[in-house]
């Protein structure tokens, strides 16, 4: 299934494995969090990139020590209106994680901008809506009041704009 | 002799303006409850529900459901006061809603408390 990244469709090169699927010798793999805990040593020795599927009932801090070794974290929306993953994504960014955060499941255009703002940057979007709908949805609002958002979608933070001569937001190395 | 028929009607809200409407025999949606088709059997009610679902898919109405009702002398009366209010208007504003627009009787016997 193609992924939406930076407002374009890209092919998904990752292999998603279950807990007991055979680990291929090469290539990028995404494993369940339980397998990451179980097989972290062997997973770390591989040359390919490593990602994890993290459930929205797990606590972000349990993933913290693994983050430097991870290139993708997949957060699943079983329903678009279950907002837990928004906090998890933002926590991961606050921990300094700079790899991919991928949204899967019930991902819809009208939530896309919120997801971008909290730090998601890859989306499994299916084929229900054409690309233009997603592209338009990513910039429905050009302004946000909150500070410290993950600013891939480049909207202005109102409070920061109003007080431009104040100190910049310090903890946002990934802001773009 | 006037007979009373008991059964179920289908109601919904019209999507574009939210007005409470009732499914008629011809498959239209009417604001007047007296136009509602009354299903006397469960199979007939299921058929009405199916028609309502199609109307939802066609974006005519939303939130359709079955309501217990009876017909007597050409007038349809819902069993529950909630549904009677949807058919007539608020009990506290007899000047507003369908009761005031000639689309339904008013609360003939005031349902005051």
């Amino acid at each position: 299934m193609p992924l939406l990244k930076n407002n374009a469709l890209v092919s998904d090169t990752w292999l998603v494995l279950g807990n007991d699927d055979v680990l291929p010798a090469t290539g990028d793999v995404i494993v369940p969090f339980a397998r990451l805990l179980r097989d972290f040593e062997s997973l770390s020795r591989r040359s390919g990139k490593l990602g994890v599927v993290f459930a929205n009932v797990d606590r972000a801090e349990t993933l913290a020590t693994f983050l430097p070794r991870l290139s993708a974290v997949v957060l699943h929306f079983s329903a678009f209106n279950d907002g837990r993953a928004y906090s998890l994504a933002r926590q991961l960014r606050e921990f300094g994680y700079r790899g991919e955060i991928r949204a899967t499941g019930n991902v819809l255009p009208d939530q896309l901008q919120f997801m971008l703002q909290v730090g998601f940057d890859a989306f499994e979007i299916g084929d229900r809506f054409p690309l233009q709908v997603w592209q338009a949805a990513s910039k429905q609002m050009s302004l946000a009041y909150q500070r410290g958002l993950f600013r891939r979608s480049a909207e202005s933070e109102i409070w920061t704009e109003r007080h431009t001569d104040a100190e910049p937001w310090l903890e946002q190395p990934h802001a773009g | 002799m006037t007979t009373t028929e008991k059964g179920q009607i289908v109601t919904a809200n019209r999507l574009r303006d939210g007005i409470a409407v009732f499914l008629t025999r011809s498959g239209e949606w009417s604001e007047a409850i007296d136009d509602a088709v009354l299903a006397l059997e469960p199979e007939a009610a299921a058929g009405l529900e199916q028609r309502a679902r199609l109307a939802e898919q066609a974006c005519l109405v939303t939130g359709s459901y079955l309501v217990d009702a009876e017909r007597r002398a050409g007038q349809v009366r819902a069993a529950h006061i909630r549904e009677r209010m949807r058919a007539l208007g608020p009990t506290v504003r007899p000047d507003l809603g369908k009761q005031a627009e000639g689309k339904a009787n008013s609360f003939a016997a005031p349902e005051g408390v």
Partner: protein
């Protein structure tokens, strides 16, 4: 009053355009109802019994004459000539069309208003003391913080799909008129021993199915830390609040199930873990906002107004209204005018377009262009010169807005109930009407004194029945409406949840039951003792006996 700058203007314009597009996509079938519902709710649009209902935000209950006129215009042009002021200091319209909603939002944007987050599982309109900036007992005006929170919570990307709705109230006075202890978060300004001001942060209060009094998680939070600290609370709730059962999804249940200490520890851990950016921007923003709430240019006046005193002597009706509907202002020579939207036999909180325009004009002429909506569904003119009060009263009286029952038995809080609301299980308004007719004699209301009678038409408690001195809850028993009565609730600084007195009543029996309760109170009270104090002294027993004694 706060005024939008270019950013605020652009923000609500873009939001309106976004909703227009969403509504069009819904009408074309590109969004399902399940997908559209949360989007329209977060723009204040419900689907009710008769039509759509639009709830417009009146942030912290403050509005100008121009804004009130626009509300009147919307009532006349898009609704049926009236609106309903709510217990969250908002206004709602009952006969709205989806296809016209974006136009209405555009008209609201013209006067710096919106309907953002007046519904949905997000942070709702922030409420506060309806006498803010005027009350004699106030430490500081809480509305700058209210505005700061309005901005921060608007379209917050992390907190727009919470387990359930989230309500914040703010008070800046020791006498709590904002019910901070029965909100998801209540903020109370107070002064410490060194004379500094800070905020007590109370979490997990609420009404609804499981009424609870909130617990204090921070006793004295410095103002510049408010946003960062609230983010930590919201995050703990968003991550760990229950989503399996909507009746257990409010933050009060999380606080209760974790226990206050563990909840506090979770919040403090999250607060410590979050990157601490400089709060300089928040401090500057708060200072910028606060400048808008500088007191209006009050005149230096004597405390005593000859014109006011003469009118009181000459006009007994005015004297009675003045006795009941005015409140102490912090500036000499001024008073707070409370306009009761509770005429005898009327619908609590309803006002016509004409009445709204009159109140707008009075605010512009006599109250520094300010109006307030109170959570008791009344309107306040916060800054009226005592010299002008008689003229204000004459104008109100001519528009049927001078009911002299503020805070008395006729000043009943009632939700719209089953007459309008899709969630209701019983009607509220007819019960309020029958009680207000029973106590039509204002002299008797005055004898009874301060009393809060609150009516909800379902367990969601929009009519605040749990915190009414007398609470009435409408329920459905096998298709029939019946009403449970509770006594002893209060939303003031010594908050309490009412206790159910006994078996419920049919609708037509409620007014008599309230009559018996109040007659009992008149018999047992000590000199000067208000109803709630008497109830707390004697408990439910004498009231139970009066209500349920074998006939």
């Amino acid at each position: 009053m706060y005024r939008y700058d270019e950013f605020d203007h652009q923000f609500v314009r873009e939001r309106t355009a976004q909703f227009r597009d969403q509504a069009e996509r819904r009408l074309r079938g590109e969004l399902t109802e399940d997908e559209f519902r949360p989007l329209r709710l977060m723009n204040g649009l419900y689907l009710q019994l008769h039509a759509y209902m639009l709830r417009v935000a009146i942030p912290y209950g403050t509005l100008s004459g121009r804004q009130m006129r626009q509300l009147a215009m919307i009532a006349d042009k898009y609704d049926k000539g009236y609106g309903h002021f709510t217990t969250r200091q908002n206004i709602q319209y009952n006969w709205i069309k989806l296809e016209e909603t974006a136009d209405i939002l555009g008209h609201l944007a013209d006067v710096e208003m919106h309907a953002i987050q007046t519904s949905g599982n997000c942070i709702r309109n922030v409420t506060t003391d309806h006498w803010a900036g005027a009350a004699a007992d106030e430490i500081a005006d809480p509305r700058p913080v209210g505005e700061l929170l309005r901005q921060w919570s608007s379209l917050h990307p992390e907190f727009s799909y919470l387990p359930r709705k989230f309500k914040i109230a703010v008070t800046g006075a020791p006498h709590d008129r904002a019910a901070v202890k029965v909100h998801d978060i209540g903020l109370r300004l107070h002064r410490n021993a060194e004379g500094k001001v800070g905020w007590e942060v109370i979490v997990g209060g609420g009404q609804g199915r499981t009424p609870m009094i909130g617990v204090t998680v921070r006793d004295f939070l410095p103002e510049h830390e408010l946003i960062a600290y609230l983010e930590a609370i919201m995050r703990v709730y968003n991550l760990y609040g229950r989503r399996d059962n909507k009746y257990k999804a409010r933050i009060k249940i999380l606080v209760h199930e974790l226990g206050a200490e563990r909840f506090k520890a979770e919040v403090e851990a999250e607060y410590a873990r979050k990157p601490q950016a400089s709060t300089e921007v928040e401090e500057r923003e708060l200072a910028r906002i606060a400048a808008y709430f500088a007191p209006p240019p009050f005149e230096r006046l004597p405390r005593w107004s000859a014109a006011f005193e003469e009118a009181r002597l000459a006009q007994p009706d005015f004297a009675r209204w003045a006795r009941n509907n005015l409140a102490a202002h912090k500036v000499d020579g001024y008073t707070i005018v409370n306009i009761s939207l509770k005429p005898e036999g009327g619908i609590p909180g309803d006002a016509t377009g004409d009445q709204m325009r009159l109140m707008a004009q009075l605010a512009e002429t006599y109250s520094h262009d300010e109006l307030r909506v109170s959570h008791a569904q009344n309107i306040v003119l916060p800054h009226v010169k005592k010299d002008d009060v008689f003229a204000v009263w004459q104008a109100l009286d001519a528009a049927a807005l001078a009911t002299p029952n503020y805070g008395l038995a006729g000043d009943i809080i009632a939700c719209p109930g089953l007459d309008y609301c899709a969630l209701a299980t019983a009607r509220s308004i007819p019960v309020a009407q029958s009680i207000s007719r029973k106590f039509a004699d204002i002299g008797r209301q005055e004898e009874i004194g301060q009393i809060k009678i609150n009516i909800s038409g379902c367990i969601n408690a929009c009519g605040h029945h749990h915190v009414g001195h007398i609470g009435i809850l409408g329920l459905d028993k096998k298709g029939e409406e019946f009403y449970q009565i509770t006594l002893g609730g209060s939303s003031a600084e010594h908050s309490s949840i009412g206790t159910i007195l006994g078996p419920g009543f049919a609708g037509h029996e409620v007014a008599d039951a309230i009559d018996k309760i109040l007659e009992t109170y008149l018999k047992i009270r000590e000199p000067g003792e208000e109803f709630i104090a008497a109830y707390r002294r004697v408990g439910p027993k004498p009231f139970k006996e009066a209500l349920y004694a074998a006939a």
